[in-house]
Every structure is written in structure tokens, then in C-alpha cells.
């Protein structure tokens, strides 16, 4: 039986294949048209969505630019002379000097020590010698701070 079936299959002539009917062709055409339409609509819809997303992002961007500019204005206001002066007066209790005094510039040579300056004794100088040497070894001038 199996051999007869194979024989039948082998013996089947090519002309026996069913020809597409006009109805089938129309249906296929419609299907292709529908698929193409769907693809087009989905593409268009996707582009539209992307477009609206872009528009929303642009609006968001503009809002951030606005916010940024407003913050810049706030910074400029906070750094304004009037604001700084107000803060200095109210928070730090500062005020303009009542009187400006100009001290005489030191003459050439040594700067004279203030009147209330006590010169170190010999003992104090000797006591400070080790720290001065250590300072020199560290590459600093003895007795001079940072």
C-alpha cells in the first residue's frame, strides 16, 4: 500500500496543482494591502508618538531653562551689594567705620615693634633654639609659622 501511494505521488502530474482563483487573488491583495496599511499606520503612529514625546521633552527643556535662568537671577540678587550690605548689618552686626585712621608707613629698614611688645630674655631665646634648629632641618625658617 505504501508503494502504491508513493507511485501515486510520483505519478501526479504538475498540471494537477490548483490555480489561484480570482477571489483568492483579491483576498491576498487585500491582505497585503491591510498589512501594508497596518505597517504604515503603526509607523505613522510611532512617528507621531515620538513627535509628541519630542514636543513634551522640548517643553520640559524650556521649563528647565526657565528655572535655570530664574536661579541665576536669584544668585545675582543674593550676591548684590544691597543684599550683602543688609546681611552684614543685620546678621553680622557690621557697620561702616566711624573714623578712618592712617598709620604712618614704616621707614626704610626694620619695622619698629609695637609699644607693648616685650623682648624675649636670653633664657627664652636659648630655650627656643632647639625648635628653631628643628624648623630649619624641616626646610623652614626658624620661628616663622605657615
Amino acid at each position: 500500500m505504501a508503494s502504491s501511494a508513493r507511485a501515486y505521488a510520483l505519478g501526479r502530474p504538475a498540471v494537477a496543482r490548483a490555480r489561484p482563483t480570482p477571489g483568492l487573488l483579491a483576498a491576498m491583495g487585500l491582505a497585503i494591502l491591510a498589512i501594508t496599511g497596518l505597517i504604515y499606520i503603526s509607523q505613522t503612529s510611532s512617528v507621531a508618538n515620538t513627535g509628541y514625546d519630542i514636543a513634551a521633552l522640548q517643553a520640559q527643556r524650556e521649563q528647565w531653562i526657565r528655572r535655570n535662568d530664574q536661579l541665576r537671577l536669584e544668585i545675582a540678587k543674593a550676591q548684590s551689594l544691597a543684599h550683602v550690605e543688609r546681611e552684614a548689618k543685620t546678621r553680622l552686626n557690621m557697620g561702616p567705620p566711624a573714623r578712618i585712621v592712617y598709620a604712618p608707613p614704616p621707614s626704610a629698614g626694620r619695622i619698629p615693634p609695637p609699644a607693648d611688645f616685650d623682648a624675649p630674655t636670653l633664657g627664652e631665646r636659648l630655650a627656643s633654639l632647639p625648635s628653631a634648629v628643628a624648623g630649619l632641618l624641616r626646610g623652614r625658617a626658624g620661628g616663622v609659622g605657615d
Binding site: I65, A76, S80, I100, A103
Partner: protein, 581 residues
């Protein structure tokens, strides 16, 4: 049977009738087609432009994209005026449901009372009404979260002033249309304004741009940023001290000009009364005079301050030296008038330095007469009087003085103009002339705009020499004479313009106000102009106080204002003192 069921063949007349009907029908159809084609031709061809425009108007919308107006900065880069984007809240009145409830929700966000919001919403019965202009981003977000029906937020811009009303008249005002109306905003409007752009886009029924539609953008060109020569700190000092001086003198108005004598750069220009940007009635008629820049747009008779110019002419021509003596008899009759001193003293021989120290009108008039009109007025010209200074502020006045041959000229005018009467100058012209004395004799062109930078715009201004008005030697001599004025004391008390530790050069002035019928004796202008340190001047300060009530004298009113400003500027400039105090 077949024959009986078959319709009878039409006879000739019936056939003709049918054909006729067919022809009529065809003719009607043809006629309609012709009419239709004609109409189509009319629409498509003849009226093409109109209908194309209508269609475009329906589908396309053009929106102007405003250009960002440039920032105006002080010399140190501080923004003085900047355009900042905000949002404005509008309401379509008929679409707002519960007005009271909406007002209650909006009021705390807008920072105004419920009554105010409600009255704005009820100000119209239909259409759009602006509820609030200039919402910050945070406030706008809070409004959005309320999801109120009938309300729309639209982007807007507002000119903002981070330093408040600092240098308000110099900056000027921008109108609601974004056009500069005064000051730098007006003079440099083309540079600051930029060029607006436009966006053409296909719109949907809500007038929103269709995402997949066609659109075209012509981007705006932003305005250039402008940097002034105004120093914010000096401006603040000048405004504060002028306000105090005007208030103390119960004066009508006042002006302070501070210049860098080496470059001609304007460091400060202060005025009282001053323009307030936050004034809700800023554009009201009574505020219009405040749009002026009095230092360049208003002239006045400088009075004794002008003796500096006469003295410069005398020294430069070699007719006098600081020690040259003149007889001051208290009055001097010349031509049709008599020159009198403001303060009467016994007649005596005084030096030219003393002429300045005592502000002797008689001494200055004698010198003017000796110089003669050609030489005296020649030096008026050399110092730039009677000509515009060329500063970049609109309405720069040239001032005037009378020359021989001018209508109404009298020889007495020569004597009067020698001590600053009958001469009209702007405060800026006077300051520029004294700056020439301070810098060694070079007349500099004053300028207030240092640079502009932006898309397609980039320029920088530097000092411009107008001419050598007087020689350095004359300038030095005159400086010493002006130092002697500040050091001079008749009653043993130090002059109010004196600054301990510094050599200051200066001159007071008190002038009467000219009216169409003569001089108003009860109204005076007190002024002082000086510079410091005298040997290396860092600034020239001119103080002018108008129509004061406390005292008519420049020495009493204007000199202390000068001294307070100068003292603070010397510290600011770290100018080393001439002597320890």
C-alpha cells in the same frame, strides 16, 4: 405571443422627443460642468493666491520666537539688567467654574490676596484675562498641579534688576513692547534687542503643532550683552551719599558724576529723585521726567566752579601766574552791569590762588576781561563746552555760552561768563573739563559703555583723547591752586571738602537758577567738583544739589557729600595717604 410581449418600436416622433430630452439633460450636465469647471478655474487659478493663503492660515501658523534681550553688566561683570523667562497665568473667564474656590487656591501661590485674584477674574464677563504675570517655575508647577479648568500658563519674559534700582536712570527703561525707552536700553537698543525668529508649523484644531506635520524654524538671534564702565560699588556709594545730602539739604534734586580722569570712563552717575523699576506706576505721566539722564540731558549755570576754566585760560596764555595779584574791591562795573562778590570783604589785593580760594567773582571777571572774548571762549571750546560730549546716552546736550555777535550779546556777558554766570553746561561736561585738569591737561571723551559681546557683535571701547586742552604745567599749577582751595580756611575750621591724610583738589560753586524773567534769587544750585589724590588722581567727583533749603552754599551742602564719597573711594582704590593722621 412573442410579438405581443415585445415593446413596440418607438415611432419617429417619440424617438426625437427622447433624444431631445437626452440632449437637454446632456446640455444641463455640460452646462453644470462648465460652471463647475469655471468656478474651479476661478478658485484654482484666478483666486489661487487668496485661497492658498486662507488654507495656509487654517493649517499653518506662524509664531514669533522672541530674541533674548542682552544683559547689561557693571564693570565687574555684575548683571544690572537681565531678561528672565517666567510664565503668565491667563484665565478664560467663561470656562472657570467656581471663581471663588479658584481664587482661594491660587492666592497663596501667587502671593496676593484672594480678593485680588477674584476681582481680576471678575473684571471681565467673557474672554481671556491675565491673572498674574511673572510666575516663577516653582509657582507655575504648583498652579499646574491644581489642574484648574479655564486657566492657561504662557511663557513670558521680564526685565529683571538683580541690583535693584542701582544706576536706574543710566540703565533706562524697557517698554512693554520690549523696546528701550531711555538710558542705555534706548541708546543701544539695536545691540541689546537682537532679532526675533519665527516658527511655521502645521497645526491641529487645538492650534498645537502636528508632530508629523511640516514645520520650519527661523531661529532668533539673541541680543548682545553690554558691559558698562559703571562700578557697582562706586555707584552705590554715590547714590547713598547723594540721597543723604539731598535729604539733609531739603533739596529738590541732586546729581553726582564720578569719572576716571585717566580714561574718561564714567564710574558712577547718581540722581535724586531716582527711577524705581519696581514702581507699579513706572509708566505714569508724572514719572516720565525720571526717564531722563540729568547729567547729560539737563544743563545748568555752573557758577564759581567754572572759574577753574577761566583760570586755566589765564595760566595757559601766560597772562597770569598763581601769584599774580588783582585788586578785589568787592564790585566791578563793566559794560552794562556790575559784578559783585557773593561775600563782601574789605577791598584788597589778592592773588589768583586767593581768587579761587575766596571764590572772588570780581577777580575772575577781571581776568576774563583781560583775556578778551577770543582767548577766553577759545578755552571754553578747548574744554568741550558748547559741544556734545558724545557719550552713548541719548539726548546728550551740548550746552551753550554767548559769543560776541550772538543775539542779545552784551559786553557784560564776557565778565559774567568768566565766573560761570550765563553759561549753560551739563554736569558731565563740567566733570570732563575738571578731569582734564586732573590728568595733566588732556580732554578725554567720556564713555559709559565698555564693550558689547553677542552673536555677530563684538566690540570694546577704550579711552579716546579729544585734544590737549592745556599743558601739563598749567594743569599742575591749577591743581595746586585747587588744593589750596580745599586747604584754605578763613575761620580756622577745616573746609568740609577736606579729607584727613589726603591732598584733595576742588572748587565749590553756588549759582542762581536762570528763569525767563531773570534769576530766581530764592533758588540756588550748590555744587562741588574735585579730585583725589591731587598728585595721582584716581577719580573726579562732581556733586550738584538743586533748590536747597538748608543753606544756599555749595561749601555747606555739596562739599560734605563730595568728602564722604571721596573718603570711601580712596579706601576702595587703596590710594596711599599723603600724610598719616
Amino acid at each position: 405571443m412573442t410579438e405581443s410581449t415585445r415593446p413596440a418600436a418607438p415611432r419617429g416622433s417619440q424617438l426625437d422627443e427622447r433624444r431631445w430630452r437626452l440632449y437637454v439633460l446632456l446640455a444641463i450636465i455640460a452646462g453644470c460642468s462648465v460652471v463647475l469647471a469655471g468656478k474651479l478655474f476661478y478658485i484654482q487659478v484666478v483666486e489661487h493666491e487668496r485661497y492658498a493663503a486662507l488654507a495656509a492660515q487654517e493649517h499653518w501658523q506662524r509664531e514669533v520666537i522672541p530674541a533674548r534681550r542682552g544683559v547689561i553688566r557693571a564693570a565687574d561683570g555684575r548683571p544690572l539688567a537681565a531678561t528672565v523667562p517666567f510664565e503668565a497665568l491667563y484665565a478664560t473667564v467663561e470656562r472657570v467654574g467656581d471663581v471663588r474656590k479658584a481664587a482661594e487656591q491660587l492666592a497663596p501661590i501667587l502671593g496676593v490676596s484672594t480678593f485680588e485674584v477674584e476681582s481680576r477674574l471678575r473684571s471681565k464677563t467673557s474672554g481671556s484675562v491675565m491673572v498674574h504675570y511673572g510666575l516663577t517655575a516653582d509657582a507655575a508647577d504648583r498652579v499646574r498641579q491644581l489642574r484648574l479648568s479655564g486657566f492657561t500658563l504662557r511663557p513670558v519674559t521680564r526685565r529683571s534688576y538683580p541690583e535693584g534700582n542701582l544706576a536706574s536712570q543710566v540703565l533706562g527703561v524697557v517698554g512693554v513692547d520690549g523696546y528701550g525707552l531711555s538710558g542705555v536700553e534706548s541708546a543701544l537698543n539695536d545691540v541689546l534687542a537682537g532679532k526675533p525668529g519665527a516658527e511655521w508649523a502645521e497645526r491641529d484644531t487645538d492650534r498645537e503643532a502636528i508632530a508629523i506635520g511640516t514645520w520650519q524654524i527661523d531661529p532668533p538671534t539673541d541680543g548682545a550683552d553690554v558691559t558698562l564702565t559703571i562700578d557697582a560699588y562706586i555707584q552705590q556709594v554715590a547714590e547713598r551719599e547723594l540721597a543723604a545730602g539731598v535729604s539733609a539739604a531739603q533739596a529738590k534734586s541732586g546729581t553726582v558724576v564720578v569719572l576716571d580722569p585717566r580714561t574718561g570712563a564714567v564710574l558712577a552717575m547718581a540722581f535724586r529723585p531716582a527711577l524705581a523699576f519696581d514702581d507699579p506706576n513706572l509708566f505714569a505721566e508724572e514719572n516720565k521726567p525720571l526717564f531722563r539722564v540729568p547729567a547729560v540731558q539737563d544743563t545748568y549755570e555752573p557758577g564759581s566752579v567754572f572759574k577753574i576754566v577761566t583760570m586755566a585760560a589765564g595760566l595757559e596764555t601766560g597772562i597770569i601766574a598763581p601769584e599774580t595779584q588783582v585788586m578785589d574791591s568787592g564790585s566791578f562795573r563793566f559794560a552794562s552791569g556790575t559784578v559783585r562778590n557773593a561775600v563782601q570783604r574789605p577791598p584788597e589785593m589778592i592773588t589768583m590762588t586767593q581768587v579761587l580760594q575766596r571764590s572772588s567773582n570780581v577777580g575772575a571777571a577781571h581776568l576774563g576781561v583781560i583775556l578778551g572774548p577770543d582767548r577766553l571762549f577759545g578755552y571754553f571750546d578747548r574744554f568741550g563746552f558748547g559741544r556734545k560730549t558724545g557719550i552713548e546716552l541719548g539726548g546728550d546736550e551740548s550746552g551753550s555760552y554767548r559769543r560776541p555777535g550772538a543775539p542779545g550779546w552784551d559786553d557784560y556777558d564776557l565778565a559774567a561768563q568768566s565766573f560761570g554766570q550765563g553759561v549753560a553746561v551739563t554736569p558731565l561736561q563740567m566733570a570732563v573739563a575738571v578731569a582734564a585738569v586732573a590728568n595733566g591737561g588732556t580732554l578725554m571723551q567720556p564713555y559709559v559703555v565698555a564693550s558689547a559681546r553677542g552673536p555677530g557683535v563684538e566690540w570694546r571701547r577704550g579711552p579716546t583723547i579729544v585734544r590737549q586742552a592745556i599743558s601739563p604745567r598749567t594743569a599742575r599749577q591749577l591743581t595746586e591752586m585747587m588744593v589750596a582751595v580745599v586747604e584754605y580756611s578763613e575761620d580756622g575750621k577745616p573746609r568740609l571738602s577736606k579729607i584727613p591724610g589726603y591732598r584733595v583738589a576742588g572748587k565749590t560753586g553756588t549759582s542762581e537758577i536762570a528763569t525767563p524773567t531773570g534769576y530766581a534769587r530764592d533758588r540756588t544750585i550748590a555744587s562741588f567738583v574735585g579730585f583725589a589724590p591731587a598728585d595721582d588722581p584716581r577719580f573726579v567727583v562732581l556733586v550738584k544739589i538743586d533748590e536747597l533749603k538748608s543753606s544756599p552754599w555749595g561749601e555747606q551742602v555739596a562739599a560734605p557729600v563730595f568728602a564722604r564719597i571721596a573718603q570711601q573711594l580712596l579706601v576702595y582704590f587703596r590710594a596711599p595717604p599723603d600724610s598719616a593722621q
